[in-house]
Amino acid sequence: MATLTHQESVTAEYLEVTSGTRKNFILIIIAGVVLLIVGVIVSLFGGGGHEAAEGAAAAHGATAAHGAVAAGHGGGEHHSSAPWLKRIIVSLWHNNVFFTGVSAIGTVFMAIQYVAYAGWSVVVKRINEALSAWLVPGLVIMLVVFGLNFINYDLFHWTVPGIMDKGNANYDAIIAGKSGFLNIPFYVIRMVVYLGLWIYFTKRLRDLSLSEDLNGGTAYFHKSINVSALFLVFYAVTSSMSAWDWVMSVDVHWFSTMFGWYVFASWWVSGIAAVTLCAILLKQAGYLPLLKDGHLHDLGKFMFGFSIFWTYLWFSQFMLIWYANMPEESVYFNQRLGGFNGQYTWLFYSNLAINFVFPFLVLMTRDAKRQMIMLKIVSIAILIGHWSDFYLMFMPGTMKGENGFIIEIGIALIFLGSFLILMTKRLAQASLTPIHHPFLDESVHHTT
């Protein structure tokens, strides 16, 4: 038992995942499967009058995307899968990138707290540890879906055979110029290295944290700081590079130097929203007695601040491209603002509204950051908002004008249910309060 100045001791408390809760998670998955099936049926039988529009949109997309290289890349347009299959593959990739990225934030957040010698966050530390439970399945799904890409090259245009060979009908000079980085073996190696590093450091920090629970003392704490510092160096590089690989290479002709940070900001603010939401739900279920207004206030400040940070990066990327207005750059926003008969335009503006205007105005006052209901609404909005931010990054480049929502939301629900099952399982494995953390006392008496 850790001895505290104002309290006798802190006892370990364990989360009990009731069968009702587990049933709810399974219900989420079932709802997702039902939506997925409905979506496939709608896509199979409801697409009759859609064909003409589809053709026009696809043609428009092709001219827009390949405007710069149309001459070299006219003849060899490959055939893509049936819309429903393509949507499933793209959606699996989209959801896995989102959930894996958010999952990694658990470890990143914890590592930053260690390196900064921050004490306030100790009471939510176990939630961060549990958040990273998705990394291992994330790696497996990512490898599998990358394999599915080769059915009809639906996800990554640069994987089409012959696209980098001069003289081939599929040859594309711009993509061939990127072959040193964007080739399949190196891509798979990078994917395994990124996630392998994240998984390794997550496990290392988790093990140290659990040993600390058993044995106490400050040795584990100091070791965690070293591990965290090393992890953050690797993460700084790999998070940026994974954003190029997993997200930006979908729009393979286009590139932006802001993109790594932009994707990281999206993951980061979603991760903090997930931690906040989880902490509030646990508190309302009667757990985490040490979590007070002050901790919620700080989490609220993080959500508020990093929503603005995300907007800052989003705008920095948008404004330069809008101002310079060079075709090979502005095609990215052309597709999202008015391209494909304007079907992404509403999402483009609502993305800004839900991820910037809403958190900014709602969480501005001190009182709002200390009220569970406000934080709950905003964190759910941020999670949905950044899911659709990733939707907006993937869909125009892959689905062109054939995007939809039923299949996509179905797959998102399947991911959500599985994510929650894994996360609560890991949450239940250890005491919700790290009882021997040296900064526990500071966290308990945290006031803002």
Partner: protein, 174 residues
């Protein structure tokens, strides 16, 4: 208007913090506490209400935002329209950096000026300081007193709670 104060001088912030709680519990109204550096939790101990400065800050920010937008839209859209980079005269994305900066500028300066004004920290001929040592290494608790105050009892309360000295001082224009 002249006011008279009893000053309890403390050597340590923890002693002061507990003294504040105890003195208030004993029914003595504390006028103000002067410390060389900010002390965590002293606002709560003194029972100070939350500042309304953030509300002022919001309106300063809003003023800056409106001013910046008005300025750019009027200048570039109506007063002297120019074509820059083939963009419309009123090109909102291009205005956002300036709007942001002016919002921050108005907000910061407005807050600082408001804070100085309500704390009476503007330049004056004679700066009223109850005990100059509160700018160095002493913690000063000021209690307003008048003819009816039982000075012996007050001194005793302060002494019991760790004050190293108890002085009196008259101050005009405070």
């Amino acid at each position: 208007m002249t006011k008279r104060f009893a000053l309890g001088i403390f050597e340590d912030e923890d002693v002061l913090l507990h003294a504040v709680e105890n003195v208030r519990e004993a029914g003595v109204k504390i006028y103000e506490v002067f410390t060389p550096f900010p002390i965590h939790g002293i606002d709560d101990a003194l029972g100070i209400e939350r500042s309304r400065l953030p509300i002022a800050a919001f309106f300063f920010g809003l003023t800056g935002l409106s001013f910046a937008l008005w300025m750019q839209i009027y200048m570039l859209g109506f007063d002297w329209p120019m074509i820059i980079g083939g963009k419309p005269h009123i090109a909102l994305p291009a205005f956002i950096p300036v709007t942001f900066e002016l919002t921050v500028l108005f907000c910061c300066h407005g807050m600082v000026i408001t804070f100085y004004a309500i704390s009476k920290l503007y330049p004056r001929w004679r700066t009223p300081v109850l005990d100059v040592r509160s700018t160095d290494d002493k913690f000063v608790m000021a209690i307003e007193v008048n003819e009816n105050t039982d000075m012996n009892k007050l001194t005793q309360i302060l002494r019991e709670n760790g004050a190293s000295e108890v002085n009196q001082k008259e101050m005009s224009k405070f």
